[in-house]
Subunit: 143 residues, 2 copies
């Protein structure tokens, strides 16, 4: 199976996009997120906990607690979430798995893949949560 993001990262991105879409100051319980997005509750809970440590989301404990964004959606880029969960390894390791792949000692796909990868990186760096709010809202409606 070929994969881009791990399940953990997919879920994390979905959950944070969800928080951004419903952004209005107050926190959202994990139950709602898990139900709406059909993600195992304990799993997405763990992911949001770790994103709390990364400073991307804020958590409020106790009754009527839940999660919210830790900062303005304009300041959260998709790459931040990916970096926090999966790391940025895919953006600087060899697509063919060759060791010591570099400009000096390139693999057969080094240049061509490098271009594609850098486009992907740029996209994830350009996109912030606020820019995706409308599209996320529409998607959430149709789940």
């Amino acid at each position: 199976m070929t994969v881009i993001f791990s399940k953990k990262c997919e879920y994390g991105l979905q959950a944070v996009l969800y928080l951004a879409a419903k952004e209005n100051g107050d926190v959202i319980p994990v139950d709602e997120i898990a139900n709406k997005l059909s993600i195992p509750k304990e799993f997405v809970s763990k992911i949001l906990q770790s994103l709390t440590e990364s400073g991307i989301v804020y958590s409020k404990k106790g009754k009527s607690g839940g999660f919210a964004l830790a900062k303005a959606p304009q300041k959260i880029r998709l790459i931040d979430i990916v970096a926090a969960i999966d790391g940025l390894g895919m953006f600087n390791s060899c697509v063919l798995g060759f060791p010591k792949c570099s400009h000096e000692n390139p693999c057969p796909l080094h240049e061509k893949w490098g271009t594609l990868r850098s486009n992907a990186y740029d996209m994830l760096t350009d996109e912030t949560l606020d820019q995706l709010k409308a599209k996320t809202l529409r998607k959430i409606q149709n789940l």
Copy 2:
């Protein structure tokens, strides 16, 4: 961990590129491939066996046996190897893991990711083993 190709697929691509680079009619034993590429012998052996079933490589049993390409390197595209090992799932499933992601019901990244993904697909479809021979030879020297 974010991943593009599975380890199986990386190894498979490496091994087939190796066969193409050393192409001269006769078969190459798995031992040589595994040693040169630092891949566990039994593992790459299994992978090459499955690529034999897919019609991409040819295997010769018994003493002085080994593996070779099953057809001309001009006729083997990288996408064929990826399709045989990992499948083409990543090229038609949602990058964010949303269900029923489609043009009618797109995820927030549907268009932008679609473009990147389609570029990657085109690249893997354009590149054939013969085109990569020189670069592969150079890489193999420096392992």
